[in-house]
Symmetry: C2
Subunit: 295 residues, 2 copies
């Protein structure tokens, strides 16, 4: 079975069967004997350097039998016929017999591992194993537990729901409503095992001249999110269209007030307006020097 | 600034300055001009094939100036001196001037991109751009919105907190308490934009002969998690040590009852006992055929 995602661009020239057309749809397969996370992460990152090309991507995880390999080969060959170009195949399959089967497809195969694994083996003078370990370590490991604990911590301490456990927090994100605190907290927890609480500064909080009481003892753990007014208006309108909450004036006032608080209280902060959640989380680690609990 | 993680193994022979020792600590750097997610994901996956070697890993994101490059080079050279072996460096820096600076460190450099990018450019006859796109696409894109919406959906519908929005769910995870429903729901949301609710089957639910009322209209969306008794006992004991809730007998009874429900109601299910959250989520997509909303 495959996990498809819809084409990231519309088909611009699906009849380009002969000759070369740089704008023709290209199929790309991310294939692995595991989750395919590595293959997909690397593959998408590389494809982003060919932004003018419309790619249709397919993720095929758990290709760990010859039968599944044949199924993948069929899908690749069908994509070849559909667009008239060899699909690109990124694979991280370890088993040589299964890899060989995949390599028989009518495709352009990109061997992600073998070159690198061989070079490393030579450098460190250790033979690689024939199987790949789990990416986030053993499920009984301390880091697995740290991760799950962090997720539950983020949930329990989301949106100011509870403020009595801030002594156990690694970081407390603050910001106006819908500035990205919740997804960032969860990403920090899932990806880095960091215990992130978050607290929304409401109108009442914003127009006081001091921090909310619950936050005062933990000033060193506070980290502020900033977002530009237009973007906040857009996001809030998706939630409550036409409301005062989503109005330009309201958003602007809240954002000015919160930046005043960041400055007067000396709270580190970051403008997240053009950042993905991954970027926000990584930048926060970088700026705070906070240590991951996993990875 | 760097984001360190602690060594994944203890140092076994830190004085092995001359001669080769396969059990000596090796330093590894994941370096990028962006988040370093690609570099780290690929690097860790490859290192897992050298499980006998203790690696100390460092992640250095946002190396996008010569100054930051020099800072990274210093860290690499210090690690070289510390252990007496050349550190491994996985980098995905696009700018050739910055890359050259990194390459001057006393390290074994693994060029992740260049080989692959060049091969692809030749195959598709398109020149690569000099900069890398954002990994999860533009923050104004539909997929970004789908992602954030999915995260909020997962939160609002966590742990059976609310059952009135199940018509909007892509999937409803069920299982006994602490079988991994919440982290899996959140991962499905963050990584794939899938709207995953989750509902814990409590003792009352389990010993009824039918599904809880709230779930009955949505039988087609249900997906069950299974976990082995020993592991559940361990996890619950970490939460409430010595409680009836964490006792072997209680866990065993609940797990037998829930498997009875899965069978009698024909609910697809998966044993998550030895799986990471990534694996659980990917397997669920594979088994259900559920389509991602992002990626």
């Amino acid at each position: 079975m495959q996990i498809t995602s819809s084409p990231n661009k519309t088909i611009q020239n699906k009849d380009a069967l002969g000759g070369h057309d740089a704008h023709a749809m290209r199929s790309v397969f991310f294939i692995s004997d595991g989750t395919a996370i590595t293959s997909e992460t690397l593959g998408r990152s590389i494809l982003s350097r060919f932004a003018s090309v419309p790619f249709e991507t397919f993720v095929i995880p758990y290709v760990d039998t010859l039968e599944r390999a044949d199924d993948a080969v069929n899908q690749i060959n069908m994509a070849h016929q559909r667009y008239g170009y060899r699909p690109l195949v990124f694979d991280t399959i370890v088993d040589p017999v299964i890899r060989e089967r995949i390599n028989a497809a009518e495709a352009f195969n990109l061997d992600i591992y073998e070159g690198l694994v061989g070079k490393i083996a030579e450098e460190i003078e250790v033979e690689p194993s024939e199987s790949i370990g789990t990416f986030h370590g053993d499920v009984d490991s301390d880091s697995y537990k740290a991760r799950i604990d962090a997720v539950h911590f983020a949930l329990d301490n989301d949106d100011g729901a509870r403020t009595t456990h801030y002594d156990a927090a690694d970081i407390i994100l603050i910001g106006v409503s819908r500035s990205g605190k919740t997804p960032t907290s969860l990403y920090l927890a899932l990806q880095f095992g960091i215990r992130a609480a978050n607290y929304p500064l409401t109108e009442d909080d914003l127009f006081e001249n001091s921090l909310p009481k619950a936050l005062r003892p933990f000033k060193d753990k506070l980290f502020g999110l900033v977002i530009d007014t237009d973007r906040l208006v857009k996001i809030r309108n998706e939630r409550r269209a036409g409301s005062r909450y989503a109005s330009y004036q309201q958003c602007q006032q809240e954002l000015r007030a919160i930046q005043g608080i960041y400055i007067s209280q000396g709270i580190p902060n970051i403008d997240v307006s053009t950042m993905s959640i991954e970027e926000i989380a990584t930048r926060i680690l970088q700026m705070t020097g906070l240590k991951r609990r996993i990875g």
